[in-house]
């Protein structure tokens, strides 16, 4: 995988203060290309498929929206609470505009949680980008495996 001009531009857009105040890369110092390659390996390690995971997360987020801001129990396993904020957010890869919808998905049994946004699901599906370690919206493969599968 090469660090293409498109990836370089996306990495610039992911810096704190460009699109969001805290950015998309968390504490990571490595290049976007290296983050994506590392996470592809992590996804393989936990047996996760990008499209299948994105589809499940999207389904949970949509179920959560039915709570109109309050948490809802989904399939008796998860507690999903969605939060919506004003205005759209442009994707750092510059291929779409997304509503600021966030869902906190909690596995009721273990109490473990993962934070998912509309745009995070898109970036997982379309760009195989899960956000950097330390980003609040990182879709960490190990946590995904525990919480949503």
């Amino acid at each position: 995988m090469k660090m293409t001009p498109e990836l370089k531009k996306a990495q610039e857009n992911m810096q704190p203060g460009v699109i969001t105040a805290d950015g998309f890369l968390g504490d990571e110092k490595r290049s976007l290309k290296d983050i994506i390659v590392r996470d592809e390996e992590e996804m393989r390690k936990y047996g996760l498929d990008y499209e299948e995971t994105a589809e499940l997360l999207r389904e949970l987020l949509e179920e959560g929206r039915k709570g109109l801001g309050e948490a809802v129990t989904v399939k008796e396993r998860w507690l999903v609470q969605t939060f919506e904020s004003r205005g759209p957010l442009p994707c750092p890869f510059e291929d779409g505009i997304f509503k600021k919808v966030t869902a906190e998905i909690t596995d009721k049994k273990s109490g473990e949680k993962i934070l998912v946004s509309d745009m995070a699901i898109h970036m997982m599906e379309a760009h195989r980008f899960l956000e950097g370690i330390g980003s609040p919206f990182r879709l960490d493969p190990e946590l995904l495996k525990k919480v949503v599968f």
Partner: protein, 369 residues
């Protein structure tokens, strides 16, 4: 020593180039003083070259902005009547076709390079910046804090239902200052304080700061009042719906009405929560209900826990609302809808209300949610 010559030479050349660029920038981008004509009523003289939003703020005119000028909320819309060039790609996602045709711009994206004329709502002339001190912070639920700000001798004049913007300073990994809007839950008669209800949004910049970093005694900037959410002066039955921190404007409106003795108006207040631990101010509002004959408080739980002793309404707040409009409210009275919540909650309530004969134009809510 020869090995130092190259780096020193590069350093000197870079410094010279930097100085030249700085000088050229000052000459080329020196727009001098320019004038901003606001509504044909007020003219400001500002240093040219800065963004419209910050130029106005520096002169005490505050346009609402939820992101603090980062171009990610689309809140700072204002009509620019002068030609300031075409709309920027950073503005277009936030504007409708009608707004683009009408020269509406995002004040945080437009640079003031020459004299310009703009139009803003007249109410914005009354918006002030307050240097406050946090008087108290109280947990009203597991994820909502009631925060009271002391205006330190200043006073705020507002109608119940308005909101303020809280200026969040850099903290932790957050490098820049940002702003977020919250409805005031204090009454207009409480001029020396501002009370806000702030629900923790996981990953949210402002709410994380309030919940995890803010302490009593801290100094905080507030800007306001903003908005047009308010009780309409009619005889129509008010049908109010909220959940979570959406309680804030209704606490202000209802206690303001009670204080002013406006007790003839029929008011229904539906408050949705998941479990009993998400309910708050229950006693205060039930007390209001017992003293005010035409006021009806309907809290409802969507997932009441067994053994919690809940004997009130259950179900999604929209289902409870639908049932009450059909079965409990007088059909011979005009009705107005008042909503505070997420865009999804507002859309769902709009559907229920319009299906029950409340016209869309008589359903009111703040669009900043």
């Amino acid at each position: 020593m020869n090995f130092l010559i190259a780096p020193i030479a590069v350093g000197v050349i870079a410094a010279v180039l930097g100085a030249v660029i700085g000088i050229v920038d000052r000459i080329v981008n020196n727009y001098g003083d320019v004038e901003i004509d606001i509504n044909g009523k007020k003219t400001l003289t500002v240093k040219g070259g800065d963004k419209l939003l910050s130029s106005l703020a520096a002169e005490g005119i505050f346009i609402p902005s939820a992101c603090g000028g980062r171009g990610s909320c689309g809140a700072c819309k204002c009509k620019v009547e002068s030609d300031v060039g075409p709309h920027l790609p950073t503005e277009i996602p936030y504007l409708t076709k009608e707004e683009i045709d009408d020269n509406v711009r995002l004040a945080c994206q437009v640079k003031v390079k020459e004299n310009i004329q703009i139009r803003i709502p007249d109410e914005l002339f009354n918006v002030k910046k307050f240097d406050t001190k946090v008087k108290s912070i109280k947990d009203v639920t597991h994820d909502i804090k009631e925060v009271v700000f002391d205006l330190q001798g200043e006073e705020i004049d507002f109608k119940a239902g308005r909101y303020v913007q809280i200026v969040v300073p850099p903290y932790g990994k957050i490098r820049g200052s940002t702003q977020r809007a919250y409805s005031m839950s204090s009454k207009p008669s409480e001029k020396g304080i501002v009370e806000l209800l702030i629900r923790l949004v996981p990953g949210g910049i402002a709410t994380t700061w309030v919940h995890n970093y803010l302490s009593e005694g801290d100094e905080v900037e507030l800007i306001g009042p903003f908005g047009d959410f308010e009780k309409r002066e009619t005889d129509a039955t008010m049908v109010c719906v909220a959940g979570g921190s959406g309680m804030a404007p209704f606490k202000s409106i209802l206690f303001d009405m009670y204080e002013k003795g406006e007790l003839d108006r029929e008011v229904w207040y539906f408050f949705g929560a998941r479990t009993t631990k998400d309910l708050f101010y229950l006693e205060e509002i039930k007390k209001l209900d017992s003293k005010w004959e035409n006021f009806h408080f309907v809290p409802a739980l969507s997932e009441p826990q067994e053994g919690a002793g809940w004997d009130g309404e259950t179900g999604l707040i929209t289902d409870v609302l639908d049932r009450y409009i059909k079965e409990k409210m007088r059909v011979d009275r005009d009705k107005e809808g008042y909503l505070c919540g997420s865009p999804g909650m507002i859309a769902a309530c709009n559907n229920v209300m319009t299906a029950n004969g409340i016209p869309l134009e008589k359903i009111y809510y703040d669009k900043f949610a």
